[in-house]
């Protein structure tokens, strides 16, 4: 019999995070003997490009579809079309405002960023100036991580002052320059939260180039971030479970094809990791290079 | 004596045009061989093939008796052939010296760096030989057409070639410069260089050439020794008929109203206090040497350049002309001397160019073009001015130089202006067409239009004008009636310089 075909439309493909999701999905495809493809637009702002990808994916007569929607509403007309064609849809990474997706395999970015805020507060002693370098001002992940962090600080840590939030497109170099300017403008700054891999690396580079010791909390993993944590340049980082997200998405799709009942949400979890627990098998399993 | 160049049975077709049919030509060492023919006869095409710019379809070219193939300009240079193009071909951002020696720059030791001093020195030497005073370091784009033409000539001379092709070298030059050029030509001739000389100026032909070859419609008509052939014969060979000269009859004008009056026009430093008036039905000739400021005056009145002071009165009313649009609205038209840069959108077709100044007339609902009307109007001008073009949809850049000039004229005729500035209107136009244009000017004047004709050809000025204004260094040095005025009278006013001493003193004071 022909293998079932399941295209996954993600929010991106060049970032290491998405490459890890892809790896997980490919693993599941091998395990369950289905065929997948994985693609996403160049940047998380290109909502309509993603819609076109979804449209092309539907044209390929898929058995099921995985979607990490850039905008939870924009995709709905096409999802209706999928529904009409009886193609099950699995949402991943972030949800869709609709009951069409059978399940959502995602990280709770708001909660994860709040955890980062807690750790930051702990490490700087509950008071002082901090800043954020975020990858994107308008994308779901960017907004959730920023707001999750900022709101937790506002609620729980009145003595912590967020002096600057800037956006570097996840571009390592740009984030480096942004960090340097933030440090230059705020000589008393105690810590910076970098909201994705590129931003976090940028923060590390910037602090190193300016020779400033501050508390840096990152997000996701990757070789440089892991190294920075090991070397003590970075205090720690939040990791999601990208491989798990990919794996569980495909797995859910396969289950849906078999007619199995699915939970509405698959929480793939997140962890805070630092030098002390990096080698914990539970953590190291979700970290990628 | 083996001829330097022999061309036989040459054919060349462009899409839609058979430019050359079995063309023939021969050039001997030490000879000035004039190549004559109407606009679009194929003179430039033939010479461009010889210079490696176009490739021939069929036919044979021999250089010093040996059959050759000339695929590139470089190949022509290597064969000792150089050309002065009809249209200027300069790099405006580079200096005069850099233009002349492009591709042949002197190098310093190791050949890595350019030797700028040697470059300027060599250029200066050539200018000296031409008796031309010009700083080799001046940017070419800032020079007037005439000086640019002199640089083209200098460039061609710098090759020291055996065959020198001059395609209308004098079109932008005045008498003094032409005389200078002829002196150089005679010198080259004495050195055994063969010169192909293309021009529409009949008097030059007699003065400089040894033999003349006439072409018509891309075909060879005949070759004759110049000295023993009357000009009329050559003309009738060119056009296939004989022409009658037109002469402006000078009507009684003072009773006509003044349509344009210019008082104390100033634009530093090129125009200094110019005042004149122009009557209905009058042709006012503007004479002067290169850089006298005639073009500047016309452009300033036309609103193409801002003025620093002065009054312009049109039909009795003082007006402010801030842009060419204001001028055109007041019924003033200006035919530029540099058609390629200022006169034509050469990438567009004939009809579009003709309709450009008066597009409003060809609109329905003030929006949509009446294409049929545009087409018919352009066709009528193509007929009237004998513009040689396959159709009104041909792109202007594909037409021969003279025909392009006619399109500029057609454009302003179509606009139906009351006051017309013709800046060098017959530049590059053949005798037949020149006559047509003279007739046209006369007709326009007779219809009551007022015309300013700027021209560097004194015979033309004397023949066409009712009155002659002479300029020198931005000043109007005098006004002459045509009756009884000679070329010498005009030249005297044109060289009546005042600024030499003053400017010299100022320069000295500045150090």
């Amino acid at each position: 019999a022909q293998e079932a075909y399941i295209p996954l439309i993600s929010k991106g493909f060049q970032h290491q995070f998405w490459q890890a999701v892809k790896a997980g999905a490919e693993q599941a495809a091998k395990d369950y003997k289905v065929r997948i493809t994985f693609e996403g637009p160049d940047s998380e702002t290109m909502v309509d490009k993603q819609i076109d990808m979804l449209s092309a994916a539907l044209a390929k007569n898929p058995q099921a579809i995985g979607l990490a929607a850039l905008d939870s509403q924009a995709a709905i007309p096409l999802l209706r079309k999928a529904q009409a064609a009886k193609i099950p849809v699995i949402a991943f990474d972030s949800g869709v405002d609709s009951d069409i997706p059978l399940t959502t395999a995602a990280t709770n970015n708001i909660a994860a960023a709040a955890l980062a805020a807690d750790k930051m507060a702990e490490l700087i002693g509950g008071e002082g100036d901090i800043a954020l370098v975020v990858h994107d001002q308008t994308s779901r992940t960017g907004i959730d991580r920023r707001d999750g962090f900022v709101n937790r600080v506002k609620e729980k840590y009145p003595k912590i002052n967020i002096v600057s939030i800037q956006y570097g497109s996840g571009d390592h170099l740009k984030s480096t320059e942004i960090t340097k300017s933030i440090l230059q403008a705020n000589p008393k700054l105690k810590g910076i939260f970098g909201a994705n891999e590129g931003s976090a690396i940028g923060v590390v580079n910037g602090a190193r180039e300016m020779n400033r010791k501050i508390v840096i909390i990152g997000y996701d993993s990757g070789k440089q971030q892991k190294q920075a944590i090991q070397e003590g340049l970075m205090a720690g980082a939040i990791t999601q479970n990208p491989v798990g997200i990919g794996y569980r998405t495909v797995e859910a799709a396969v289950k849906a094809l078999k007619g199995e009942k699915l939970d509405k949400v698959i929480d793939t979890g997140f962890y805070y990791y630092d030098k002390s627990n990096m080698d914990d098998p539970k953590i190291s399993a979700v970290l990628y290079d | 004596m083996t001829p330097l160049v022999t061309i036989r049975n040459l054919d060349k077709a462009f899409p839609g045009v058979q430019a050359l049919r079995q063309a023939r030509f021969e050039l001997l060492p030490g000879e000035v061989h004039a190549l004559m023919g109407e606009n679009g006869a194929g003179k430039s095409t033939l010479m461009k093939i010889l210079a490696g710019i176009y490739t021939k379809d069929t036919g044979e070219i021999r250089v010093e008796g040996i059959p050759v193939d000339i695929p590139t300009p470089r190949a022509a240079q290597d064969l000792g052939i150089s050309i002065i193009h009809q249209e200027l071909n300069l790099m405006n951002d580079l200096t005069a010296a850099q233009n002349i020696f492009i591709g042949r720059e002197p190098r310093r030791a190791f050949g890595l760096f350019l030797d700028e001093e040697a470059l300027n020195r060599k250029a200066s030497a050539i200018f000296e030989r031409m008796h031309l005073r010009l700083d080799p370091r001046v940017e070419v784009g800032k020079l007037t057409v005439a000086k640019q033409q002199m640089i083209e000539i200098a460039k061609a001379l710098s090759f020291r070639s055996k065959v020198l092709i001059m395609d209308e070298p004098t079109a932008a030059l005045n008498n003094a410069e032409i005389a200078e050029l002829f002196r150089i030509i005679r010198q080259l001739k004495a050195e055994g260089v063969g010169i192909v000389y293309i021009s529409h100026k009949m008097d030059e032909l007699k003065e400089i050439s040894d033999r003349v070859t006439v072409m018509r419609d891309g075909e060879y008509v005949g070759t004759m020794p110049t000295a023993s052939t009357p000009v009329d014969t050559i003309i009738s060979m060119m056009v296939g008929r004989s022409l009658t000269e037109t002469k402006t009859e000078i009507r009684d004008l003072p009773q006509h109203e003044v349509v344009l009056e210019v008082r104390n026009l100033r634009r530093d430093p090129a125009i200094r206090d110019v005042s004149f008036s122009l009557r209905r039905g009058e042709i006012l000739g503007f004479a002067g040497l290169m850089g006298a400021g005639r073009t500047e005056v016309a452009r300033a009145i036309f609103g193409a350049d801002p003025i620093d002071g002065g009054e312009i009165i049109v039909r009795g009313r003082p007006v402010k002309i801030r842009s060419p649009r204001d001028a055109v609205r007041l019924g003033i038209g200006y035919l530029s001397e540099d058609r390629k840069r200022f006169g034509l959108a050469t990438g567009m077709d004939v009809a579009t160019n003709i309709a450009m100044p008066c597009l409003n007339r060809f609109l329905s609902l003030r929006t949509f073009l009446r294409l049929r009307a545009i087409r018919e109007t352009s066709r009528s001008y193509i007929r009237q001015l004998r513009i040689k073009t396959p159709s009104e949809t041909q792109e202007v850049r594909l037409l021969s130089g003279g025909n392009q000039q006619k399109i500029v004229i057609a454009k302003w005729l179509a606009r139906d202006c009351e006051i017309l500035f013709f800046d060098e209107p017959t530049r590059g136009i053949d005798v037949g067409a020149k006559n047509e244009i003279y007739k046209l000017l006369n007709t326009l004047a007779a219809q009551g239009r007022a015309i300013v004709m700027i021209s560097s050809e004194l015979p033309e000025i004397l023949r066409m004008s009712h009155r002659i204004a002479v300029m020198c260094e931005g000043r109007l040095t005098g006004e002459l009636p045509t009756e009884g005025t000679t070329q010498e009278d005009i030249m005297r006013l044109a060289t009546q310089r005042r600024s030499v001493t003053v400017a010299g003193a100022a320069a000295a004071a500045r150090g």
Binding site: M46, D48 | P15, F302, R325, L369, P390
Partner: protein, 336 residues
């Protein structure tokens, strides 16, 4: 008295021109047809009605932007701001409809008017201040990108309170008449914009001046034409068309996404140039631009349908864009 022009010439040339025209029109499609043929052979999913409609749908935004860019490029200018201007107009529609709650026609007019105003500002900077178009529109691109974020409050604006809004681009007027041809309205708008623009360019004074400005601006000025005025008008029209693109994309996404837009200008300009319009100005057609936009969409869609790895999609797209333009150059050369 003989006339010099040969009798037969015009006739010969006319028939030549005619055959040339027809030929040219057919050949202009050549790259497009070739691409489609390749993809049809490679995948049975490609040549299906829904996919073809999807391709058209995907062309709508880029096609309209490319038409806007065509005007500017024919004048010899360039417009880098088309993408962010589109977004800005979408945001304006969002503000008018969702934040202020005004009726839909007001939102539509506001978006197009905003486009026209921004276009006229670019035009003024270029014509009056003599800032080169590249820089003027680069500045506008950044300015509008920032303003779109400021006005929207860096949030997408949803059109949920304007239930008819998705109709603009998504539903299918044609489909209600011809049920087997459910071409979405966005595509319809593209074709209407293209046809009107084509008429404007070939049949009106504005069009004539657009070409003339690109051909030799100084000569046009010296013909007594108010070149500054017409240049500003060209940019204004182009801006208004970007406003239409803004409506299409907003309707398609049922939201105004303020961060979107940058990068779209390159696709639009690529479509224009693939369509045979010269970047140095003076020549170009809307038909060509539409073909160019279709080539890009077909290529993108086809490679996706073939499930080519994404990094290779980029490689292939780069090569094909060069080859498509090269084919066009060869075609012209072949015709002299």
């Amino acid at each position: 008295m003989t006339t010099i022009v040969e009798q037969e010439t015009p006739a010969v040339i006319r028939s030549h021109v005619f055959s040339q025209g027809t030929w040219q029109k057919l050949l202009a499609f050549a790259s497009l047809i070739a691409l489609m043929a390749v993809f049809s052979i490679a995948s049975e999913n490609f040549l299906q009605r829904d996919n073809l409609i999807g391709i058209l749908q995907a062309t709508a935004v880029n096609g309209v932007l490319a038409v806007a860019a065509t005007f500017v490029i024919i004048t010899g200018g360039i417009d880098l701001s088309v993408g962010t201007l589109m977004t800005f107009c979408a945001v304006i529609a969002g503000v008018v409809l969702t934040y202020w709650g005004l009726p839909m026609p007001v939102g539509i007019v506001a978006a197009i008017a905003a486009g026209a105003v921004c276009g006229s500002i670019s035009g003024t900077i270029i014509a009056k201040m003599k800032v080169p178009p590249f820089i003027a529109t680069l500045g506008m691109m950044m300015l509008l990108k920032g303003l779109a974020l400021v006005i929207s409050g860096t949030r997408p604006i949803y059109f949920n309170d304007t239930p008819n809004f998705p109709m603009i681009a998504q539903e299918s007027l044609i489909g209600t008449v011809l049920p087997f041809l459910p071409i979405p309205n966005g595509v319809l708008i593209l074709f209407v914009v293209a046809i009107i623009s084509s008429i404007v360019l070939t049949r009106t004074a504005l069009g004539r001046y657009t070409f003339a400005l690109g051909s030799n601006e100084e000569a046009v000025r010296l013909s007594g034409v108010n070149t500054d005025f017409w240049k500003i008008i060209v940019y204004t029209v182009s801006g208004a068309i970007c406003g239409i693109a803004g409506l299409i994309i907003a309707s398609r996404l049922n939201s105004a996404q303020p961060a979107l837009g940058q990068g779209y200008e390159l696709d639009a300009i690529a479509a224009v140039v693939i369509g045979g319009t010269s970047l140095s100005g003076g020549r170009g057609t809307i038909l060509g631009t539409i073909i160019g936009a279709l080539i890009i969409s077909v290529l993108t869609n086809g490679l996706r349908i073939l499930s080519v790895a994404q990094e290779w999609q980029t490689v292939v797209t780069g090569i094909i864009i060069i080859l498509a333009v090269y084919a066009d150059i060869l075609r012209r050369k072949g015709q002299g």
